[in-house]
Symmetry: D2
Subunit: 133 residues, 4 copies
């Protein structure tokens, strides 16, 4: 099965005074890829927030920063989801420079489905569970 | 009358690969000062959003970047509000390095009071109009 | 002459608690478009920083926020440059929702060419002046 | 021994469209606390970058998001460092709402000392090793 991947370009906004991407900003790249994976399956987070009234909340993240990304770099951000019980999804993710094999950054992200009003855990939408299983 | 001022420290998150504060991030400093000015008068934006149900939306901004701020700089961010009709506030703002006289950045910001649901213009809360007049 | 335009997608990172794009974050979209315009002409900002040793610094910006962008919006960010003396470029820019005619945000941005070491004004690279004139 | 702690206030810039702090932005709060811990010991990161010519680079981070922070929240960000070999520091960190006992967010952060030019690992400055041991 082909791994989902989404491109990202490094702009000034992403860098810090050390000349490399600021460590928190890789998390923005990681989320873009998860959002685009959902979108590629036809899910709109805004539509899910209205019906059935759920949001996705990051519960935990573990990130390894191996080599830095720099201004103008073309990145690929992968996203390999697996279901984790009925309320959470685990994502294995990597950030690579385009056409390179060794990732700059790897991450394990656990995302829970929560009620849009109460923020309490909710069962993942069936349509999404079907895709993941 | 003493001008309202709020301190800000420059951290890695604020800088970019040029070694200076990224141009969009000065707008975060400007907003912190406006928010703290409101708070100093006893207004909570979250309370106003519930009752009478209004938010503040930036309508326009003009910024002059004269000299850059750098990592670790201690800044002072001033905020001089004046009422502009019944629905808007104009803020003259400056960002200075602490203990310096010449501003690094100056800004004119126009903020409108809008309905929290419809985002349409709404009259400023009376208590705030009283303070401004 | 066709106006340069670059797409941007609104992600969670761009929004704030009001459910709309945070006012400073539109400046990131504006800069991406200016950077991509330069790149489309074959200029690399990293190469220019080494030889002839220049950076581009935003000197002033005026932004009108007309209507807000929201999560998942597909935006187009235009960029119309004109030379301003020998050391600066003026950009007229707009942010539009894709397939709409009325801009959400319009901006006038003045960018100066500065020495990468001293941050003092420097003449624009000839190759860039030739393109702009 | 008293745990180092640094306050942070949640502003609009930190929130996202879900009405809570965006998950990447907690990493900014964490870094501010680490920077202020260093500063409290008399170390300037800018001075260290010049002499002996070292920077600190985050190597890995593990974050647990337990409960969200919201607009206007007053936070305390703790920072408990321990030396990890000769080139790295481990930080146990928590983000709490002021006057609460249960953390909103906990994090383990590993930071390496690297050469400011080559980005290769370098021994921690002796003065810092002395403090940590």
């Amino acid at each position: 099965m082909k791994v989902f991947s989404w491109p990202a370009r490094v702009y000034w906004e992403d860098t810090d005074g050390g000349g490399i991407v600021y460590y928190a900003n890789y998390l923005r790249f990681l989320e873009r890829s998860r959002t685009e994976w959902l979108r590629s399956l036809g899910f709109s987070q805004q539509a899910l927030a209205r019906e059935p009234g759920v949001l996705f909340a990051v519960v935990s993240i573990a990130v390894e920063y191996r080599r830095p990304a720099r201004l103008d770099d073309e990145l690929e951000v992968t996203c390999e989801p697996s279901v984790d019980g009925m309320v959470a999804i685990r994502f294995g993710q990597s950030i690579l420079r385009a056409h390179e094999e060794k990732p700059l950054v790897t991450a394990q992200v656990r995302v829970a489905c929560v009620d849009a009003q109460t923020m309490r855990p909710r069962k993942l939408p069936d349509a999404l569970l079907n895709v993941l299983q």
